[in-house]
Amino acid sequence: MEQQHLFDKPKNVRRLLWLLYLSCALLLAADLFIHRHVAHDWESLWGFYAFFGFVACVSLVLVARQLRKLLKRPEDYYDR
């Protein structure tokens, strides 16, 4: 039997995810207490960077999914 590795246990994966959720919550909460020195009006919105990061990534992936329909070809496409 092979040695068990760090992420072979689902518990450790869950721990990592909870760590991520906690960090996100703390960072968002920090926006309430820390006044960011902004250079642009949008930046002063509460949690601007957090929401922008989330929305940007989700839309990136969803658009890329659709692009696949247009761009995807078999691996030997150019060799045929």
């Binding site: 995810l17 989330f54 992936v61 890329a64 696949r68 691996e75």
Partner: protein, 563 residues
């Protein structure tokens, strides 16, 4: 005397000598070359211009100022790291090609005149293609040829631009060029090809992933960054570059998300990083230019580190596709850790090198009122974390266990990666080192509470988005497939279009070919009759008879005119 000995000469001399050596001597020499060159560079005074008069032209093959020295330092560093990484390779061609390539990249950024730039430009093209061909697979050979065509196209435009510019200005000096003249545009496109401008970029994503595991590391460092240097020297503050740069940061990340070949993901992410530099050059303020060249410096190291980690995976497993890999953290824990350092650096995590340079460009974009450009760059920053920061380490080292059990790569590979990782962390943690080398005085501090918090929010919520998409199954699964890009036009459409046309006209084609050949035969026959060795027009004529003929001709004209 020693001070005016250019460091790139060491690389060329070394490449010649290397061709004769083998074994331990060869390895020692390989390591010595970048060290000697570094010593020469360290002793090079600022503001040195070595001039040479050749055939009545004034050339300046060696010029040092803050801009050229910065690129020379990082190229020298990249050469050293690349050599250490490839020390285990028993392939003389690759070693010689890498040395000549590194030397020409150094030569190109240290050149003070355009003719020297052209010479090194072509030398870099010819030497670098051997790093692709050395993979010795039919795919790599074909990709190498396509790569070479683009490189020569760039060289051709460069030469035409240089000749026109010399005709216009009477000078070969390489300073500010600008887009006011046709020659300026020719040079701009020549540099643009090598800088992977949108629509001119396909040579990069086509060829780099086909090179040898060690060759890609050299390729990723030199050609594109030399082009960034050329743009920073010749076109600072050119507004068009802002928009070109913004497009370059955004479009490749979509490709990177759906690409299966992990080295090709890195090639796309390279265009994304080049976009930040091009944008900074376009903005053109001292903050933006500092940011652009600082980011070039950092990118050489962290992109090198990422390519090295993927090279190590390819070297150990023979596989590089996301669908074939996964779970490698179990057998390659050190490589995994080093790859994550590279991923954090490219994603611009605080304390890693990308953080202290990318933000300069973004701050400059806001300062100059380019709001939408700033937003595009912010989108690209979140995107780069997504595909290079998470996707690369995740699919190679974690994700689904592929069942592959291997070991850590050879010690020299690990050492090269460790050195690059060390640089990423130390530049990120003590940016003053890098800032002191920049062309303009730096009045910028990356470590403010505002900046660190904003960046951490951006990155952690990007990671949250990845986790959510992955867990909910919305994330596009990795597939054994390729994605078509600009190269589709010349790898698929072009050949088929030509085929179709020749087929449609095949009957006409045959007839026309026969008559064309007949005409051609007659034409050359006539030519031979009059201009051949015994031809009447090939004889040396006396001036008198010449004058006579002219008089007769004029006479005929006159008579014809009269009637």
């Amino acid at each position: 005397m020693i001070a005016s000995l250019p460091p790139f000469a060491v690389f060329f001399a070394g490449a010649l000598l290397l061709a004769l050596l083998r074994g331990r001597l060869q390895k020692t020499l390989l390591l010595l070359i970048p060290l000697i060159s570094a010593a020469l560079l360290a002793g090079a005074p600022e503001g040195l211009i070595v001039k040479v008069h050749l055939l009545g032209y004034e050339l300046a093959p060696y010029r040092t100022d803050r801009l050229s020295l910065l690129f020379a330092y990082v190229f020298n560093l990249a050469a050293f790291i690349g050599i250490v990484f490839s020390l285990h390779v028993h392939d003389r061609i690759q070693h010689v090609a890498a040395l000549v390539y590194a030397g020409s990249a150094l030569g190109a950024v240290l050149a003070g005149d355009l003719i020297s730039v052209f010479v090194y430009w072509e030398l870099a093209a010819v030497s670098s293609v051997f790093l692709i061909w050395s993979q010795r697979s039919p795919r790599a050979v074909a990709a190498g040829w396509r790569y070479l065509v683009f490189q020569f196209l760039s060289g051709l435009l460069l030469l035409a631009g240089i000749l026109m510019r010399f005709h216009e200005t009477g000078s070969l000096a390489f300073d500010y060029i600008g887009l006011d003249t046709v020659s300026g545009w020719l040079l701009f496109i020549a540099f643009g090809i090598k800088c992977a401008f949108p629509l001119l970029h396909s040579w990069l994503t086509d060829a780099y992933p086909e090179a040898t595991p060690t060759g890609t590391v050299f390729l990723s460092a030199f050609t594109t960054k030399a082009a960034v240097y050329m743009l920073a020297r010749g076109y600072p503050g050119t507004e068009l570059l802002i928009y070109i740069g913004a497009v370059m940061t955004c479009f490749p990340i979509f490709y990177a998300v759906i690409e299966n070949d992990l080295r090709r993901v890195l090639a796309y992410s390279m265009i994304n990083q080049l976009g930040f530099m091009v944008c900074g050059i376009g903005i053109g303020t001292s903050l933006a230019l500092n940011g652009a060249v600082a980011h070039a410096f950092n990118d050489v190291i962290f992109k090198g580190l990422l390519f090295m980690s993927m090279g190590a995976v390819l070297h150990m497993t023979g596989k590089i596709k996301a669908t074939d890999l996964g779970g490698l953290y179990k057998s390659m824990p050190i490589t995994t850790g080093l790859c994550i350092v590279g991923a954090c650096s490219i994603s611009a995590f605080p304390l890693f090198s990308g953080f202290v340079s990318k933000s300069m460009v973004m701050a400059a974009a806001l300062e100059e009122g380019h709001d939408w450009i700033w937003l595009a760059l912010l989108f690209a920053s979140a995107g780069v974390f997504h595909h290079a920061g998470i996707k690369i380490p995740f699919f190679a080292f974690f994700a689904q266990d592929s069942g592959i059990r291997t070991g850590e790569p050879p010690l020299n590979m690990l050492l090269a990666m460790a050195l690059a990782a060390l640089l990423c962390v130390s530049i990120g943690s003590w940016p003053a080192m890098l800032y002191s080398l920049l062309p303009y005085p730096v009045d910028y501090s990356p470590y403010t509470v505002t900046h660190v918090l904003a960046q951490l929010q951006l990155l952690f919520f990007s990671a949250l988005a990845f986790s959510w998409l992955k867990l909910s199954g919305l994330y596009p699964p990795e597939m054994r497939a390729i994605n078509i890009d600009v190269e589709w036009t010349y790898r698929w459409l072009g050949p088929r279009a030509i085929n179709r046309i020749t087929q449609a006209f095949s009957h006409f084609h045959l007839q026309s070919r026969i008559s064309f050949l007949r005409y051609l035969g007659n034409f050359f026959g006539a030519l031979f009759l009059y201009h051949g060795p015994r031809g009447i027009l090939a004889r040396t004529w006396a001036t008198g008879s010449m004058v006579l003929w002219v008089v007769i001709l004029l006479g005929i004209y006159l008579i014809a005119y009269y009637y």
